[in-house]
């Protein structure tokens, strides 16, 4: 007799503790830097101290004299073999891609660019020998300011290009036929509000520094790397280095966070592969944190000129968006596409009849930008949620009422937006109502008014962000129409072992998201097997050969559905064998709780485990049936998913010191069906932390010479536990109608939504002082200046021109560039 365990009716929805945890909490980890191979050599990279210079000469010979050094190379040693770092997203046919050598050959174009590499028996010896390399740099003019970069007669980042403009990408609802012409809205507007917002440059700052180990194997190689994208990396390395794809194996072992920052083909990966192949020895490169901050790609960095038009009653009539997007010195994997992804999100949850979006991608002598959590959508959400508050202020209306008046009502779904996207489901009213209850909005409003009336030195500000995002990247046809080089499908395979245990192979490569746990829950329900009986295999192109990896809140909404589709095929195969075993017609069988039985005869039946063993033995299978239950599936979504939510922030601002402290933060997110609420909660918390960090703490600052002055964790303020509040989270559930699980994705929601909620709260606290904007991050100094310099100053802040920090940041808040 087998005993029946107490099991939940469905695994989906259970707060299962993670399968991933045990090795991580006991230190039995497999980070790339932990790996040691026989005969392995260690790399250290010499990086440019100049933002822009011609390389006169590089003499690596003195380094070879140092103890333990095996070899040293400059860019010229690999000029013919290193290819160019690939850009997979040529957003326009005439986009200028200047090319991106992994090791600089003729010029350096940002501080931190790799110039030479030393190979030694240990890391310390390699690092020591860097100082012996002699490089002659001939300085070139440094280009930092985006607007100056595209002005007449500007110095150029790349001498061989016509200008510093990489591309201009435009969308217009009038031309696309998805709405009315923006020109009409601008001409006929009863109210027009224009603002300039600055999306400061951020650094993803994953906790595990990047690390790569390459082992030559035959005429190919195996690479271990701290990457989000082993599959994309494999294909791109093959194309970049001219090694046949089937000779390249990429393994992503334990990976310590990514947030978009490890969605890349990095110069360091290419250099390590080049050296390992040149020497015929396994080679390892691990960056220091300082190297990471200056050379791993950055995020955001946009100047956003936003014009919103409305009728006097608050009905919005048009949105006109112009962006300058800083590409940095080079185009990396999806650099140009990041701001373009945002193009579809500026209109957000509102019913704009007319919309125009123009984005200019611009080169500067700074670290390249690329994906960072949200990638284009946080920037868009910030701009629309900030300007909705400014419009409300202009109209003298309540910001929440203005949103209600203009958002898509729940009965209007599916709703096709002014960009042509069809939002499948949502209920903005319900999420907002719950959020207002959770935070106690009415009493906070009363308190704010009281503090205003009494001129309390500590003012209270209330900020709203009612957001949506497009997740589940992505329908391949849509990506094709946007000129992205690859598709957006995902693959899964299921192997049913003889004993009834199940292996799930997924192309979504996790680095903290909990796929092993969530996928196990999905398969447990689909196949009726215990949660513990499912093993999830990922992160190695040999064992999980097909996939497009993890980014853009896509794993569950695309990869999870591939798991469902593969499961359905397994069940279909099992059904034929079950019918044979039960001597019944397939159509008379029902499958429930992992057991096939004849309808109406529930006692008799065969479990999936019994069928698995019968299939393995293969003694008595129906004619023409292969002895296997295994199946795989590749799922290409028909549409994006559209999570949404309402985030509310109450912030106390000490008007004497400028210090802002979040008193309460409430978010209600609607991410569709939840597989594991524990994991969802964690994703929301982490997302909030990063979004709040943009609002209050983080900024990559360059000085006038193009040096990153926030080059360590001393200066780049990743918040600690003491800098963040506890969050109050709620959920509403509007299942997605475009996938069988009804899931939408949660990885980026917190980051996308929270930044404008916090800044709206800061500005709300300062309204009595005539303040209409505070540039991010809203540091005590910036807040204090805004208070003391009032409306006149802060309006100038909003019309500043420079999106990088240091002296020039202060000029963007209207001062003369000498204080901040």
């Amino acid at each position: 007799m087998t005993t029946v365990e107490e099991r939940p009716a469905t695994e989906i929805g259970q707060a299962r503790k993670r399968k991933e945890d045990r090795h991580l909490i006991t230190g039995a980890t497999t980070w790339t830097d932990n790996l040691t191979l026989p005969g392995m050599v260690h790399l250290a990279i010499l990086r440019s101290p100049m933002a822009h210079a011609r390389i006169g000469s590089v003499d690596v010979a003195p380094a070879l004299e140092r103890t333990g050094v095996i070899a040293a190379f400059s860019g010229r040693d690999f000029a013919d073999s290193q290819g160019t770092i690939p850009c997979a997203w040529p957003v326009t046919p005439d986009m200028v891609n200047p090319g991106h050598p992994s090791l600089a050959v003729d010029t350096v174009n940002h501080v931190g660019e790799a110039v030479a590499v030393v190979v030694a028996r240990d890391k310390a010896a390699a690092q020591d020998a860097l100082e012996a390399i002699e490089v002659e740099y001939e300085p070139l003019p440094v280009v930092l300011d985006m607007e100056a970069a595209v002005a007449e007669g500007a110095a150029k980042v790349h001498a061989h290009t016509e200008s510093n403009r990489s591309y201009t990408w435009a969308f217009s609802s009038g031309e696309a036929g998805t709405g009315e012409p923006i020109e009409d809205a601008l001409r006929d507007a009863e109210v027009t509000v224009r603002r300039r917002f600055v999306q400061q440059r951020l650094i993803p700052a994953f906790m595990e520094p990047r690390s790569t180990v390459v082992q030559p194997v035959g005429d190919g190689f195996t690479m271990w790397s701290a990457t989000q994208v082993p599959h994309i990396l494999r294909t791109m390395l093959a194309l970049t280095l001219g090694v046949p794809e089937h000779k390249v194996r990429v393994i992503a072992p334990d990976v310590g966070g990514g947030f978009g920052g490890k969605l890349q083909v990095t110069p360091e990966e290419v250099i390590t592969a080049l050296v390992a192949r040149r020497l015929g020895k396994p080679a390892k490169y691990t960056e220091t944190r300082s190297e990471s901050l200056m050379s791993a790609h950055h995020g955001r960095d946009q100047i956003q000129d936003i014009t919103i038009t409305a009728q006097r009653d608050g009905t919005v009539t048009g949105l006109d968006v112009h962006l300058y997007a800083d590409m940095g010195a080079y185009l990396r994997l999806v650099s140009p596409g990041v701001p373009v992804l945002g193009a579809f999100m500026f209109n957000a949850i509102y019913k704009f009849p007319a919309y125009r979006f123009v984005c200019e991608g611009i080169f500067t002598n700074k670290t390249p930008t690329d994906a960072y959590r949200g990638a284009g959508r946080p920037e868009a959400t910030f701009a629309i949620e900030r300007i909705m508050d400014e419009l409300a202020h202009e109209l003298g209306q309540d910001p929440l009422e203005l949103r209600r008046k203009n958002w898509i009502r729940h009965e209007e779904f599916p709703f096709t937006t002014v960009c042509g996207l069809t939002y499948d489901s949502g209920n903005y009213e319900a999420a907002t109502e719950q959020a207002l209850q959770l935070i106690g909005w009415e009493s906070l409003v009363a308190e704010r008014e009281g503090r205003r009336a009494s001129n309390d030195p500590v003012q209270l500000g209330l900020g709203i962000s009612t957001f949506t995002e497009m997740c589940g990247l992505a329908p391949s046809r849509v990506l094709g129409s946007l000129d992205y080089a690859a598709g957006g499908w995902e693959n899964a395979a299921i192997r049913v072992l003889a004993t009834g245990k199940v292996e799930v192979v997924t192309g979504a490569s996790a680095h903290g998201q909990g796929h092993e746990t969530a996928w196990s829950q999905i398969v447990a329900d689909q196949l009726g097997v215990p949660f513990e009986d499912v093993e999830v295999i990922h992160g190695d192109t040999q064992s999980s050969p097909k996939g497009l990896d993890t980014y853009g809140s896509r794993s569950l909404a695309v990869g999870g559905i591939a798991v469902v589709k593969a499961s359905e095929k397994v069940v279909a195969k099992a059904r034929r064998i079950a019918a044979h075993m039960l001597e019944a017609d397939e159509d008379d069988l029902e499958f429930s709780g992992g057991k096939f039985s004849v309808k109406g005869v529930p006692g008799e039946g065969r479990t999936i485990q019994e069928i698995a063993f019968a299939t393995f033995a293969a003694h008595d299978l129906p004619d023409g049936i292969e002895p296997s239950l295994d199946a795989d599936a590749t799922f290409d979504p028909e549409n994006f998913s559209f999570p949404h939510g309402t985030h509310l922030c109450a912030i106390e601002v000490d008007t004497e010191t400028g210090f802002a402290r979040i008193r309460k933060y409430v978010c209600v997110d609607d991410i569709g069906t939840v597989i594991n609420p524990l994991i969802v909660e964690g994703q929301v918390h982490g997302g909030l932390a990063q979004g709040i960090a943009q609002a209050l703490y983080e900024e990559a600052v360059y000085d006038d010479d193009g040096n990153l002055t926030t080059g360590t964790f001393v200066d780049y303020l990743v918040p600690s536990a003491a800098d963040l509040p506890s969050f109050v989270t709620g959920r509403t559930t509007s299942p997605s109608t475009t996938n069988p699980l009804g899931v939408k994705g949660v990885g980026e929601a917190g980051t996308i939504a929270s930044t404008p909620a916090v800044v709206n709260a800061v500005v709300d606290a300062l309204r009595p002082f005539g303040v209409t904007d505070v540039q991010m991050p809203c540091t005590p100094e910036r807040i204090w200046r805004a208070i003391h310099e009032g409306a006149e100053k802060s309006d100038r802040a909003a019309s500043g021109t420079v999106a990088y920090g240091g002296a020039s940041t202060s000029s963007s808040d209207g001062s003369d560039g000498d204080q901040l």
Binding site: D21, I25, T29, G256, S720, A721, A722
Partner: protein
């Protein structure tokens, strides 16, 4: 080269090391104790935190030679010989206090020291106590909950605080 005698997770080691070798490099590169990790080069992130004679230290800020004669405990030495998790490890698992897990070894070791000093910290005391350890994934809320839960569990167990 300088000789060091050091006990790490209950095992005695004797080695000749360069005086400049950091304790974390000694642990990782010489002893293969790669459960302790390096997250920065300015002693800000705390990922490399271990216990040195019972007090938490950032092992990137200690030279291996300074550990001569000392006893070091790393995250690898916390679980019992039967594999039973330390209350902090159990609490981190129960409260979903880790995602990618890179900061976790240091976070657990810092929290262990915190609880030794203050077995029943408030939320704010935990937040201040682990201020020197950065996490990019969790937003800290579940870490705070886990540390407090571990404090309760350790007070209730016969092992007591500091196990």
């Amino acid at each position: 080269m300088t000789r060091v005698n050091v006990t790490v997770d209950g095992v005695r080691y004797t080695d000749e090391v360069e005086p400049r070798l950091l304790l974390v490099q000694y642990l990782r590169e010489r002893l293969g104790k790669v459960g302790t990790v390096i997250g920065c080069d300015t002693s800000n992130c705390g990922a490399c935190t271990v216990a040195l004679d019972g007090k938490s230290v950032k092992s990137c800020s200690v030279l291996a030679v300074q550990a001569d004669g000392a006893e070091v405990v790393t995250v690898e030495g916390l679980a019992g010989p039967d594999g039973a998790l330390h209350p902090l490890q159990q609490a981190f698992h129960d409260h979903h206090a880790l995602q990618c897990g890179f900061c976790t070894p240091g976070m657990i070791m810092a929290a262990r020291d915190l609880l030794a000093e203050n077995p029943h910290p408030t939320d704010d005391e935990v937040r201040e106590g682990i201020e020197g350890n950065l996490c990019r994934c969790t937003g800290y809320q579940n870490i705070v909950a886990a540390v407090r839960a571990a404090g309760r569990a350790m007070s209730n167990s016969s092992e007591g605080v500091g196990a």
